[in-house]
Amino acid sequence: MSRGWIVAVAIVCASPAASAEPARHAAYVDVLGKAGLWGLGYDYELVPRFAIGAVGSYYVLGGDHYTSFAPYATVYPLGAHHVRALVQLGPQLVRHVTPSPVPEWDGMTSTRGGAALCGGVEYRRGVLVRAYGMLSVGEHVAPWLGVSVGWSR
């Protein structure tokens, strides 16, 4: 094994908390997934293997404004220490504002709700890296993917 690999494995394994439970707080940036294009999220592990959190987002695409908020509950059915499988479930609220590009129309605003069921895996140890597949259910139903990257303590 090269020296680089040895160093990398040592960094991952040699934390003082290596044998402790994972960090309970996490703040992260979500890309795609529940946040739409992107969002900021936070979650807190209430008890071992159960956490609650939320992700919110705001972005503008082609002049249209999107705001979303998605609280969720997480269970960790598999894994231990810092690498665990997760399942998340929660509602999604989305507000979409279409400003009018023409003088003859006033534009339109719509607020709707849905739900997201996510399954994935996360690494949590100082940093948080989470990848998940998702079934998004609202007026329509579609599969989707998301990635979260952030910090935990």
């Binding site: 795609l32 739409g36 294009l37 695409l61 082609g62 002049g63 249209d64 999107y66 979303s68 999604q92 609220l93 989305v94 507000r95 979409h96 279409t98 400003p99 009018s100 590009p101 023409v102 003088p103 003859e104 129309w105 006033d106 534009g107 339109m108 719509s110 607020t111 709707r112 709700g113 849905g114 998004s136 259910v137 609202g138 007026e139 329509h140 139903v141 579609a142 599969p143 989707w144």
Partner: protein
Amino acid sequence: MRALALLVMAGCGLDMTADQPWVSIDGIGAPLAPDGAPPPTAKPAPAGPVRIVTYNVQYGPDLASAAAALAGDPALASADVILVQEIEAYPGEGATRASTLARLLGMGYVYVPARVKADGTHGLAILSAFPIANVEKMDLPDSRRHELQHRIAISADISLGERSLHVIDVHLDTKLEPSERIAQLHPAAIDAPETTLIGGDFNTSWIAWANGVPIIETSGASDQGPIVDSYMAGLAFDTPTAGCGPTEHMFGVEQRLDAIYTRGLGVAFGGVVRVGPSDHWPLWVDVTVP
């Protein structure tokens, strides 16, 4: 007014710097030369409603199946006018696909290319059992994003004896946000005559796009169909197909991408007929022309 419109539209992703006039197709030459022919036997002027169908044929490679689907359904078989989108023409095929479809259905037609594709063209067509007159083309505003394609609208007067029905056939870009979609449609709709039918593939998806990356948001808040309906209603158009349900299917996802809007006409919603080889289904209404 145009200066105000340009200022308002500056924030969207469309290039609104060019004029979008209606241009007679008579002066359009190669490589985008139009094609057309009158109906082999024009129907007598109708005493009752005129049946209008809009149908995206997805390039039209299997016209025999498309024609069989249209002719085999009782509602579609009595179509008087068919607004066709996404139809193509290639020199090696001997005739434009619009010509072939019209021949199979016993209708007249006009085919107007939007852009060159390989050694052929891609565009819109209007098929009619009645004479087609005053055909014009409009180049719609292009997106500044390079992955998108040039779009057009075509208009024509369908001669119904002493009456006339003005129709506009449109096919808007796929990966547009709602405000961009309104801006692209606007030049074709804003100066339409008081009595007009506008139909076609408005590509009113519920999927948002970020530089070509789909953003899946299923709540319905991002549905573009109700937004375009709202815009057209603001121009005093009726929205008879607003509740028609999906008109397109792909990868197991169904969406309402097609629509028909009318102004100054009596209109009765017909339906979406789930037939044909295309990823779109034909959508029809009956209109009463004053």
